[in-house]
Symmetry: C2
Subunit: 165 residues, 2 copies
DNA sequence: GTAGAGATGTTATAAAATAACATCATGAGC
DNA sequence: GCTCATGATGTTATTTTATAACATCTCTAC
């Protein structure tokens, strides 16, 4: 029995509840420290983004939210919460998927580099200084001032390679 | 007098007609060589994508097309042409803009790296081996098999920096 | 408590992309 | 030339993603 995207396999079998709890705790701390308001709604959206390591679309989150509450929510509600979360660096938008994923290390410097698996759908965030440096150098060489580098690498993760050799 | 995105400034003042002619010639040659059918429609869409160095949205191209012909064209027509052009490596899709831009060196190896200027909107395609290598190494280190790296760097180009210092 | 700012609700609409099916054009083989 | 298979385009409808405009609520500072 298998579906297209079975279970998250970022690191095969891990305590994901811990990922979520940890993310929420750090978010609480960061926002408190910054005086940013992590409201109930925003916190809930953050939790839903973190429901797996697969980037989720705004409308998927919307559905979750509506389902949980019974009452239906408007898209804008979700988009606004996501906007806040992205601004605070708690969530990243994966441009090539029109989807959002929890940030692995909020607070730290962020260039946003992702390995996105075509098999399981997981997006692993990395922060590779060689990539950052290489991009910066290439830009400087052309007189280009970097503001926001986007790196999204499609491919197949280790686990998925082993499953389909 | 100035608009948001005045004229392409990829390399300030250049013979852009030459860029276009060149791109079309190379496209003709490549497709002939591959037995791919660069039909009138596809060729026209390619020309419209090349109308500047700014990535253009599918619907913008659609408008151009409809306007030129008088008769209105369906979105799908444009999307199908773009799909073909992307498959042939003649055009790149800029994920973070939902837009398309002509490829600077079709036929050659393609990792698709872009410096996208927030000022003039131009997207300069680069093919930097350090970036390619850094991504590949980072992926390998994690057992990840790279299929399609996406690099889209937002920032400000040289010309735009000089204009707004 | 009252104002003001920021957050959320509500309704409508825009922008981007695809699905399903019909028709047309092209080129290989006869 | 004609026929047929394949691929390209036309047509209509729909889905998915994102934003605009304006009303209401809520928290906080004073
Ligand atoms: Zn986890
Ligand atoms: Zn995988
Ligand atoms: Zn040019
Ligand atoms: Zn510029």
């Amino acid at each position: 029995m298998s579906t297209d995207h079975p279970t998250p396999t970022l690191h095969a079998r891990h305590d994901h509840a811990h990922c979520v709890a940890d993310a929420l705790t750090r978010a609480d701390a960061l926002c408190a420290q910054r005086g940013a308001r992590l409201t109930t709604l925003r916190r809930r959206v953050l939790e839903l983004v973190w429901s797996s390591h697969r980037p989720r679309g705004a409308y998927a989150i919307l559905e979750d939210l509506s389902q949980q509450d019974g009452k239906s929510t408007a898209p804008l509600t979700v988009y606004r919460a996501l906007e806040f979360l992205v601004e605070q660096g708690l969530v990243h938008r994966i441009e090539s998927l029109n989807a959002y994923v929890g940030c692995a290390s909020p607070g730290a410097s962020h260039s946003g580099q992702f390995l996105v698996c075509e098999g399981c759908g997981d997006a692993a965030e990395i922060d590779d200084s060689s990539i950052r440096t290489a991009i910066e150098s290439a830009a400087i060489a052309r007189g280009f001032r970097v503001q926001r580098p986007t790196v999204e690498v499609r491919g197949v993760c280790k686990d998925c390679q082993e499953k389909h050799p």
